[in-house]
Symmetry: C2
Subunit: 329 residues, 2 copies
């Protein structure tokens, strides 16, 4: 199998991306990695290593964090992210990974890789943290701001297949993000989606509330991109505020500093648990190929994890399974 | 002025509600309090006290926490909450307070007190906690699940007047809850609302993100009831999870118990800061009279605070000011 890696995207590109790719190449000799980016920048980072399963695919341009997504993808045809997308489109790669501009990657997915037949809107599906460290696949978290009930149905099906194929869950529990757990709760979209999800070939457990997500009350959390993004940022905001207040409180006196010293390892663990950046790459589901968004701060381990994730998805025929389910009816 | 109090609604009704009313009556002799509920239950709680400014208005029935809101309001015409609403409707009271069933109180507002002319959808407007203890008035947090841009505009105007009249803010900063701070972010509704808010007679500061609300980046947070409720519950969930994890971590050994002893007062303060129940009653704005939802767990202090809040709103002619702004154009 072949995986294209955008070597130029992310806070630590190309350095840690290339290093991560080299380590992944060593770990999985059966996987060919296509490093897409500026040859002059990538080659020196390889320090003379020429693994048989690593190829550099030269790309002249780079899409930056501040580039306007759609325009950048349309104009910078030679950008590493766009070239990686073309490799997937032309079946020269089975998947692509990028830690670059999220909006541009979504645009690359839609405009370059292409939408899967039968899918109206692709979804960005990161793992949200849960206290038991297992996580919940939440989708959509921002690819599509104006979802309809039918889109939520497709998210549920795609998310369910992803959890089964990539994470090996036998019967992923699908929950619908809502303002209450009763069946008739919510807005017009969730009410309509509830009825659709009840009829879908998934294990639908009903409405779930944002306050229970951290205790993993479901395996796949279905929501529209707007509400999902609000939920994620509200949690981030609350967690960030509490941790920074704790830091202040711990620094106030000698005694509190003593308490801090005792509690520090536990607080670090807790903080890490709450950090969704720790939870690997987020697939962009509903495209004609596998596109994985790695966090902007991705390091060597994150790149290796994303390659592992892509390998499992390819082996499990994720894209084919989604296409069969969506278009088989 | 006269304020009707639903003596039978809330976890501690009628005991603490009546006690709170008695204390409020003693503090503000110019305010007549109408205690609405079962005379046989209320009278003994007054322990022979017969303040000149407290009157019992007998009501036979009670709407319970599990009653289906609209049906309960329609059928239980003699319920304390409904009777209190009638007092406002018939101008026998300037405001009503209730710690009872939230949905039923919204139904009472709409069906009994009545919608203000020109207002399409009333909004529930609680204060959300902020780290500086000042708070943000957020609306709507659940009265209306399918808001249109025009509703958000009306929320902004009503919230702005409330903060000015009741909290004395000169120029309340109004923010629109969104998934990013840039002007063109969000879904169709927020994009349309953004344009309307820019033209409105308010101090609109643009889009705000859920993660910044706790640091009080605005004074009035405008959102649709669905997204607002998701935000609130996501914050509650994150805070609750962190505090319960901290509790576990503090209990693990003698040393961590020592740390807990040192940090306990600070943690209590922090926990209280994050608790939106601490922040008084939530007005239901957009009605032909003042309706204040007190938290279900309201105690003596909460009832007194709600009376104080209602007094200020009545003195500041809140309802008249909103009507003038909404219908004056």
């Amino acid at each position: 199998m072949r995986i294209a890696i955008d070597a130029m995207g992310g806070d630590h590109a190309p350095g840690l991306i290339v290093q991560g790719a080299l380590e992944a190449a060593a770990q999985w000799p059966d996987t060919e990695l296509l490093l897409v980016g500026d040859t002059a920048a990538i080659e020196p980072l390889m320090k003379g290593a020429k693994p048989a399963n690593v190829t550099i695919c030269h790309a002249d341009e780079v899409i930056g964090a501040d580039d306007e997504p759609v325009r950048a993808v349309r104009r910078k045809k030679g950008a590493s992210m766009v070239v990686a997308g073309q490799l997937v489109r032309e079946n020269q790669a089975d998947a692509m990974l990028s830690a670059g501009n999220t909006g541009a990657l979504m645009a690359t997915g839609l405009l370059v890789v292409g939408r899967m037949e039968g899918i109206e809107r692709p979804a960005l599906a990161p793992m949200m943290p849960t206290m038991d460290d297992v996580g919940v696949l939440a989708l959509d978290l921002g690819a599509n701001m104006d979802a309809k009930a039918e889109h939520l149905l497709q998210y549920a099906i795609m998310g369910s297949i992803y959890r089964a194929k990539v994470h090996g869950l036998e019967k992923p529990r699908v929950g619908l993000l809502n303002v209450g757990t009763e069946a008739k709760k919510g807005n017009e979209i969730t009410k309509e989606a509830f009825d659709l999800l009840e009829q879908a070939p998934i294990h639908f457990i009903g409405n779930v509330e944002a306050r229970d997500v951290l205790t993993r009350n479901c395996d796949v959390l279905v929501c529209d991109g707007f509400a999902g993004n609000i939920m994620l940022k509200a949690m981030e905001g609350a967690a960030g505020t509490i941790f920074s207040s704790l830091k202040d409180a711990f620094g106030q006196s000698l005694l509190t500093k003593l308490a801090a010293a005792i509690m520090l390892p536990k607080l670090r663990t807790l903080k890490k648990k709450m950090d969704y950046k720790e939870h690997g790459g987020a697939p962009l589901l509903g495209l004609n190929g596998l596109v994985v968004k790695c966090h902007g701060s991705s390091d060597v381990v994150a790149v290796k994890n994303a390659v592992r994730q892509a390998r499992i998805a390819i082996q499990g025929q994720l894209i084919e399974s989604i296409a069969a389910e969506i278009n088989g009816k």
